[in-house]
């Protein structure tokens, strides 16, 4: 962290308290607590099915919790009126897993889209801003391409440009390095760090890539089966003696322990003549 932001260091940007949520009757998140401070990079990790994507959707106010509460910039998004929620959302930028670029718009129009919708800036200003952001993500010269003409890495960078076009103070990444080769993925990590330093933005990254997580994180939250396994700095997570954390770090799969009776029943359930 940079020294000058010391005064804002303790400011809570996201406050998740005892979050519980279900999908049908299945519990996805169980008593999750998480505080994200201004200016930090929080990485949320976990395997598939760990609930990390669901947690992200809650932080984006796309899902409503069954129990517990969430606060963004000190306000509960589920208790806000639509205009108040929109105001909060304009301070947030999101880079979705597969970019979620609008397929009917070219790259520049995609990046300029939030500005055209939310501001009354001059058209020249809007286009310069969009191109500046494309320069930031190293996509200069690709303004007129359609999303379908971009490679995976370019889509992610265009999505990032769109996410930062309103100069958000809170930025979310869903799986920034998924599906990218290691070099492109490292570039993107570098970019995330540069953004944080230049724009003083708070960043939440959801990923299952260890290398990427260790490169960029200030703190890491590890989710497992909907519960918080560990929350701490990179070093704390690395030196944790929790077996499940170590399994995750060493990419070892879990030994599955079965109940013999139940297992037999599962295999032969509903069969004829049994």
């Amino acid at each position: 962290m940079v020294v000058e932001s010391e005064s804002t260091k303790d400011e809570l940007v996201i406050d998740v308290q005892d979050l519980v949520t279900y999908y049908g009757t299945r519990k996805i998140l169980d008593q999750v607590n998480l505080q994200v401070l201004a200016g930090e990079i929080m990485v949320i990790m976990g395997g598939s099915g760990s609930g990390k994507s669901t947690l992200l959707r809650h932080m984006l106010a796309l899902n409503k919790p069954a129990a517990g509460a969430i606060r963004l910039f000190g306000k509960d998004p589920n208790k806000l009126s639509a205009p108040q929620l929109h105001a909060i959302r304009q301070r947030m930028g999101v880079s979705f897993q597969n970019g979620a670029l609008f397929n009917s718009l070219n790259v520049e129009e995609n990046v300029a889209f939030p500005l055209r919708e939310h501001t009354r800036l001059d058209e020249n200003t809007i286009r310069i801003m969009a191109r500046m952001k494309l320069e930031v993500v190293n996509l200069a010269g690709f303004e007129k391409l359609m999303p379908s003409q971009l490679s995976g890495g370019m889509v992610k960078r265009a999505a990032l440009a769109r996410a930062i076009v309103m100069d958000p103070s809170l930025l979310f990444f869903d799986e920034p390095s998924a599906g990218l080769d290691p070099v492109v993925s490292a570039d993107l990590d570098e970019l995330i760090l540069r953004l944080r330093d230049a724009m003083k933005v708070t960043i939440v990254v959801v990923t299952h890539e260890l290398d990427s997580a260790f490169r960029i994180a200030d703190r890491i939250l590890v989710l497992d089966k909907g519960k918080v396994l560990i929350l701490g700095t990179v070093d704390e997570v690395k030196s944790s003696d929790n077996k499940r954390v170590q399994n995750l770090l060493n990419r070892k799969s879990e030994d599955v322990i079965v109940n013999p009776d139940e297992y037999l029943q599962r295999l032969t359930d509903d069969l004829a003549g049994l």
Binding site: A61, F96, Q97, A100, P114, H118
Partner: protein
């Protein structure tokens, strides 16, 4: 056990259906909210989206609507004359065609064409946006998907369906008139004159009212199927098909109910 499961299934399906109708209704209410109130809360429904929808839903459908209605007019003339010949009442074919086209078949053909062309396209477009998280992206940008995607479609349907219906009515009457004229040695002018003698404004309006309702139905069914897409490409195909089948089925049934009440 099986009976119980069966009853459970019926119960579940009923709840699903009620939920779906409720969802349609909320889409409709929200769309009107944005169309009317949006401009005052800095969330207007964009004109250029409305125009582009009008183009896709209405203007591009004109050739098919006219072709089908024209053919339908001819078919009605053929069948009408054959049937009426039995009673030596061929000349009564004119009011027969005039009534059934304006009250019924003009709007029905229009609705079926629009459901097939635009209903499927809308469901596919919104469905693929849902799948690629574009709908979520809109939401987190603070842009209501209903305002952005659904409201322009509803508005365009309300404008374009009556226009298409009038075109369909005219094409069918001309088709019927040409054939009748050919067989009964009647000029097209006379045919049209006699149509206007029997038709009153109410007959034409009956078709137009229905066109508004059918347009809204197609839009709601297509949009809700699009938003509820899940499960990859297969899900998208299912939603598209479902939206066409469902909207055509609903159109025909709603039409029947309407006809029952309006034609007595």
């Amino acid at each position: 056990m099986n009976t119980r499961k069966f009853i459970e299934r019926i119960g579940e399906k009923t709840i699903d259906a009620i939920e779906e109708v409720g969802y349609h209704f909320s889409l409709l209410v929200e769309s009107f909210y944005w169309l009317l109130v949006g401009p005052f809360v800095k969330q207007p429904v964009r004109l250029h989206y409305i125009f582009s929808e009008m183009m896709k839903i209405g203007v591009l459908a004109i050739p098919v609507v006219i072709l089908l209605s024209f053919s339908n007019g001819i078919m009605m003339a053929i069948q009408g004359i054959v049937t009426l010949q039995e009673f030596n009442a061929e000349s009564q074919v004119v009011p027969g065609i005039a009534y059934s086209v304006t009250r019924e078949f003009g709007v029905l053909i229009t609705a079926i064409v629009v459901a097939g062309r635009s209903g499927s396209a809308i469901a596919a477009r919104i469905g693929s946006m849902q799948m690629s998280q574009e709908v979520d992206a809109l939401r987190v940008m603070g842009i209501e998907p209903v305002r952005h995607l659904v409201a322009p479609i509803i508005f365009s349907m309300l404008v374009m369906m009556p226009i298409l219906t009038i075109m369909a009515d005219s094409a069918a009457l001309i088709g019927g008139g040409l054939y009748t004229g050919f067989v009964l040695k009647l000029s097209l002018g006379t045919f049209i004159d006699r149509c206007f003698d029997v038709l009153v404004v109410y007959d034409v309006m009956q078709g137009l009212y229905k066109s508004l309702i059918f347009g809204v139905l197609i839009a709601l069914v297509a949009c809700s199927n699009g938003f509820s897409v899940s499960g990859g490409a297969e899900g998208l195909g299912k939603a598209t098909t479902r939206s066409v089948v469902m909207s055509i089925a609903m159109i025909v049934m709603v039409d029947m109910i309407f006809t029952y009440f309006l034609s007595r």
